[in-house]
């Protein structure tokens, strides 16, 4: 097995792990970590699979650099919203019972 393919497989595992975390983690901070792990998994697949033949490929490498910056931007926004939510409601989970989301078929605000 080539080095590239090996890390691509690890990336697949991280992606699945992040996906499970994003859905199952009730805490917002946990969801944000899970999103970052999911993203790292996709990045590893992008570079690893492209380099499975052994030659470094600058194109996916540049794409991952772009992706890392996008991920940190999204993380910062998510954390700012989490803090704002905690300031307003005193809790770092989504209000009402939809911390169980995203399987919850009904939005909140049914009042």
């Amino acid at each position: 097995m080539s080095l590239g393919l090996f890390y691509a497989l690890v990336g697949g595992g991280l992606f699945a792990l992040g996906l499970a975390g994003l859905i199952l983690q009730p805490r917002l901070l946990g969801k944000i970590l899970a999103f970052n792990i999911l993203g790292s998994g996709a990045f590893l697949v992008l570079v690893g699979l492209a380099q499975r033949g052994g030659t470094p490929d600058p194109v996916p490498q540049a794409m991952v650099l772009t992706g890392i910056v996008v991920a940190v931007a999204a993380t910062a926004l998510a954390l700012a919203l989490t803090r704002r939510l905690a300031d307003l409601s005193g809790a770092a989970v989504l209000p009402e019972d939809d911390a169980r989301a995203p399987a919850n078929p009904r939005g909140p605000d049914g009042d």
Partner: protein, 223 residues
């Protein structure tokens, strides 16, 4: 979510991981070989380092939009609003402050080096900006820099400068025939100009992601 639903989700994710592994196993070589094309056009790209060439020339358009993503993340944070009355300077910490005052200029120097090195070896605007941002975060933690909710005119200009330079270069390219098309002779200098602008603005924006929040709690609850 109840226990069974959680187990089902976990199982489905495990199946996904296995499916990914199975699908990636034993693929034939890709029919398009971009590394060769990158190498072929590297000489006329204006830089010697292939990743920088892709990032700022071949796929510079991605990078332009990505700088936009950073800027709107900051705008979104400002828009969601940090409660203004929390916006005070941190109590000074003499040890940390001394360290920060020593380290910050050093970090700016490192950022400059990374920026310059990016043209021919690993490094470039993003790495340099990250180091600049780290300096900003350090200064924030140490006390001298205060958090901000509403950036003033000068700060706004500095935040947008990199994006404005990049946009201007994109428009300039239209005169050559295509958006972001660099004139051959000027490609190297234009890319360096874009990168310099980006380093300052991205560094500030990345630091801003940190500074735009409410103040950092230190030592128990505040009023």
């Amino acid at each position: 979510m109840n226990r069974w639903a959680s187990v089902a989700v976990a199982l489905l994710c495990a199946v996904l991981a296995l499916a990914l592994a199975w699908a990636m196993w034993d693929l034939p070589p890709a029919p398009v070989a971009l590394p060769a094309q990158v190498a072929g056009s590297l000489a006329i790209s204006g830089v010697e380092h292939p990743v920088t060439a892709v990032l700022l020339n071949f796929r510079g358009y991605d990078t332009l939009l990505e700088v936009g993503v950073l800027l709107i993340a900051l705008l979104g944070m400002l828009a969601a609003g940090a409660t203004p009355e929390r916006m005070t300077a941190l109590p000074p910490d003499p040890v940390l402050e001394g360290l920060a005052r020593l380290l910050a200029p050093l970090m700016v120097l490192v950022a400059g080096y990374l920026l310059w090195a990016g043209a021919f070896r690993p490094g470039g605007a993003f790495q340099a900006a990250a180091v600049l941002a780290a300096a900003g975060v350090l200064l924030r933690l140490a006390g001298p820099v205060t958090a901000w909710t509403r950036p003033g005119r000068v700060l706004r200009l500095a935040l947008a400068a990199g994006f404005v330079v990049f946009l201007a270069v994109a428009v300039l390219g239209l005169a050559q025939g295509a958006m972001l098309e660099y004139p051959r002779a000027w490609a190297g200098s234009l890319i360096l100009a874009v990168e310099a602008g980006l380093t300052v603005s991205l560094g500030l924006t990345l630091a801003g992601l940190f500074l735009a929040g409410p103040e950092i709690p230190r030592g128990g609850p505040r009023t």
